[in-house]
Symmetry: C2
Subunit: 146 residues, 2 copies
């Protein structure tokens, strides 16, 4: 899933003060803005690492479903997930409609990942088929909701 490997974590040219507003804003206001942005940057780093962990989990689900020929979707699971996320969002003072949209956004990416897993699985089955002779074809099992 990684486009490139970063072997030099010191190679970080990020400037937390980067802004097209630099020099045009009252220094005290700019300092307040940069302070809030510093928190946003910390949250964003956490989000990236957490999303990476989530995709590791859904990748496991994708392999499990492909291996055991389980159906792609699981409407019962998805309905329960959405209801739970909306409730959690309300508790966290986050717009529940946004939480639902966020889950759908993530699921869209999961689908793409599972399609890739299923294609790999299909290719492996095809290789087995060429070795063992023709067998009835079965479509790949992918999970949209994990």
């Amino acid at each position: 899933m990684t486009e490139q490997n970063q072997t030099h974590p010191d190679d970080d040219s990020y400037d937390p003060g980067a802004s097209s507003l630099a020099g045009q804003v009252d220094p005290a206001v700019m300092a307040e803005l940069l302070s809030i942005r510093s928190s946003i940057d910390n949250i964003d780093a956490t989000l990236v690492y957490l999303l990476a962990e989530r995709f590791k989990a859904t990748q496991k689900v994708g392999f499990l479903k492909a291996t055991h020929k389980l159906p792609a979707g699981d409407p019962g699971r998805e309905t329960a997930q959405i209801a739970r996320l909306r409730r959690l969002a309300a508790e966290a003072h986050l717009d529940p409609a946004f939480a639902e949209k966020f889950l759908n956004f993530i699921i869209g990416e999961v689908i793409r990942h599972h399609e890739a897993i299923a294609e790999d699985h299909e290719a492996a089955l095809a290789a087995d088929t060429r070795a063992a002779g023709p067998v009835p074809g079965t479509g790949p099992a992918v999970s949209a909701t994990a």
Copy 2:
């Protein structure tokens, strides 16, 4: 931002085992699936609370910009944010293209929040104007990138 207040956290009807596959899958496979889903559920709860915290921070930026009439966008900030998130994603073995798409998805929601803040600010200015007589109009300042 909250559609409703949840005053009874015990009122949680979520079933972590909810699945349209129930009873149709080998119990050992189902157990493995539910184990991974339990981790996904924990990650999702963390994501919701973290996103709520991020929107609290961008809401502060929105108020700051509206108050000090700062311009909506900050291209210098946005460029630095995207480059950093792509680098962090690569380190976390997450697709950098997805990380960028994710940031854009969040920014879209931030824009909607800031528009609401700017509208409130505009309404407050209009009320002041009605009290003090006409002054040259200034558009609301909103921030897309925070």
